[in-house]
Amino acid sequence: MLTLQSNKRDATLVVSLEGRIDATSARALEQQCLAWIDAGEKRLVFDLSQVQYISSAGLRTFLLTARKMASVQGDLRLAALNQTVTHVFEISGFSKLFAIYPLLETALAA
């Protein structure tokens, strides 16, 4: 189960996710993210503080979203990953691919 809230802060779309980004929920998230970029969003910050779990399906979602964002010279940031999610990003090598910030506020200020 994954819930999503988005709100615009200046030019940035802040996306707050809560729950699990798994094989069941990742596809809908991916479609939403690609739709935002199609609609012209160029700055996405994901607040992952309430995400307990991510699997390779969720990593795929962030990879595809980041690629699409790069193709429009946009900016994608991830914030507030918990220890479990951080571990998955590390063992997959994804921590090197993404701009990851300890807190939402630092991601927005950077």
């Binding site: 980041a66 997959s92 691919l97």
Partner: protein, 136 residues
């Protein structure tokens, strides 16, 4: 502790209830939350592989899942009658390449190998059997 034994169709719609059962088993065994989530992750990756690729030209069969835990050891067996497939033969994806070149294939299996201490595969009497172990 009594083993967890599940039998379910190889369909993605069954994933949430399987994850729930694994989580309950882990809680009952007294695993830290982080360990529960790692085991859930390893099994999601394996099960999704079987569900997506195990039955390309016939209706999904049954997956059998068994978790046996002692206070310091976990032993997991996953068996299915889909096409023969050894997940551990997959090459590890290159984790050093940039975003544009990163491939997603094989990543799930890489996560399983990273989480578990040992992963074995056998094919016998038309069944794939994967055995995973982890020290707790």
């Amino acid at each position: 502790m009594k083993p967890l034994h599940l039998l379910f169709p190889a369909q993605r719609t069954r994933l949430p209830e399987v994850a729930e059962a694994i989580h309950s088993f882990g809680c009952e065994a007294g695993w830290p939350e982080a360990v529960c989530l790692q085991i859930e992750l390893a099994l999601e990756e394996l099960l999704v592989n079987i569900m997506d690729y195990g039955y390309p030209d016939r209706p999904p069969g049954q997956i059998e899942l068994m978790l046996q835990a002692s206070p310091d050891n976990l032993n997991i067996t996953v068996a299915d009658d889909g096409v023969p497939f050894n997940p551990w033969q997959h090459a590890t994806p290159n984790l050093e390449v940039p975003l544009e070149e990163r491939m997603i294939g094989g990543l799930g299996i890489h996560l399983v190998k990273s989480i578990m201490d040992s992963c074995t595969y056998s094919f016998f009497e038309s069944r794939n059997r994967v055995i995973l172990t982890k020290s707790l």
